[in-house]
């Protein structure tokens, strides 16, 4: 077992903290199983959305309800937040000052909140234009799928706040480090789900 071996998904602590690295393997793997079952839930909602594409009941269609501009901005924000969380993971792994780690977490949190407020604004505009979840089967399936991702991002933001309290309070002990590893997986996983959402939902709906 060398110091650099890869034991689990996400960034591995091997070279810098052997002890936590060993502890992290079962914990992170368990969380990975949760993420995969979450992926199955999203996949089924995508399948429902796919079967509901034509069920607009004379109401708004994908092409009339979606807007490409805000979706693009949301996508870039979420992508950047994945990168800033990566920088936080690196700050944690290589023992940078806590201030550096907390700043990267704070940047990620701000980007997450910016994403959420833009998304809420989108939903409000859609509902204001008569594209509410009760209008058609198509819109029901849209509002089952996309806001579920938003709820996950909200949970991620709350988790970020908890970590920004835990890091200064407990310092970087094994427990806090493993929590950060799990939050990292969660955050990057949400970004992957968003790729599927902007491609399958928004871009597919907007193709002319």
């Amino acid at each position: 077992m060398s110091a650099g071996d890869v034991k689990h998904a996400g960034i591995n602590l091997g070279a810098t903290d052997q002890e936590t690295h060993k502890q992290a393997e079962p914990d992170v793997f368990g969380f990975w199983i949760f993420l995969m079952s979450d992926a199955v839930i999203f996949a089924l909602l995508f399948a429902v959305y796919g079967t509901m594409l034509g069920a607009t009941a004379g109401g708004p269609t994908a092409a009339s309800a979606y807007k490409i501009g805000p979706t693009f901005i949301e996508t870039v924000i979420l992508l950047t937040s994945s990168f800033t969380f990566g920088m936080a993971s690196i700050a944690m792994k290589y023992g940078s000052r806590l201030r550096v780690l907390i700043s990267w977490l704070a940047v990620t949190l701000i980007l997450g909140l910016a994403f959420l407020s833009l998304e809420l604004n989108d939903f409000a505009t859609m509902i204001g234009n008569g594209a509410s979840p009760t209008r058609s089967g198509f819109l029901s399936s849209f509002f089952a799928l996309v806001p579920l991702h938003g709820l996950h991002v909200l949970a991620g933001c709350l988790w970020l706040v908890v970590m920004m309290v835990q890091v200064p309070l407990f310092g970087l002990d094994a427990r806090v480090k493993i929590n950060l590893l799990r939050l990292g997986l969660f955050w990057h996983f949400l970004d992957i789900v968003w790729i599927a959402i902007f491609s399958v939902v928004y871009l597919q709906g907007l193709i002319r």
Binding site: K7, I33, T51, I68, T75, G86, I90, L203, I207
Partner: protein, 104 residues
Amino acid sequence: MTAMRNDKRREIQTYAIGLMLALAATGAAFALVHWPSFPARTTLGLVFGLALMQMIVHFQCFLHISLNRSSRDDLLLILFSTLIIIMMVAGTIVIMANLHSRMM
């Protein structure tokens, strides 16, 4: 200590490369839809292809999972979940499309 600094620089590079590739794929997909230059069906195929590519980039650069480096269990779990997802999604769409055409 220098070895560790090199490791750190390499890992930052991995994240930066991941971000660049992801931004490029996203930008390309949105541009294809915003300025249509192919038939709709081709555009859809390209958008889905870019999405798949971007997912692989995310798995590799952000989640550090790749075919040769990753621990077996993680990869097996991903492949198993993918199998389940393909069966359930493809099954749902086939059955519902079939039902739809029979109800017409």
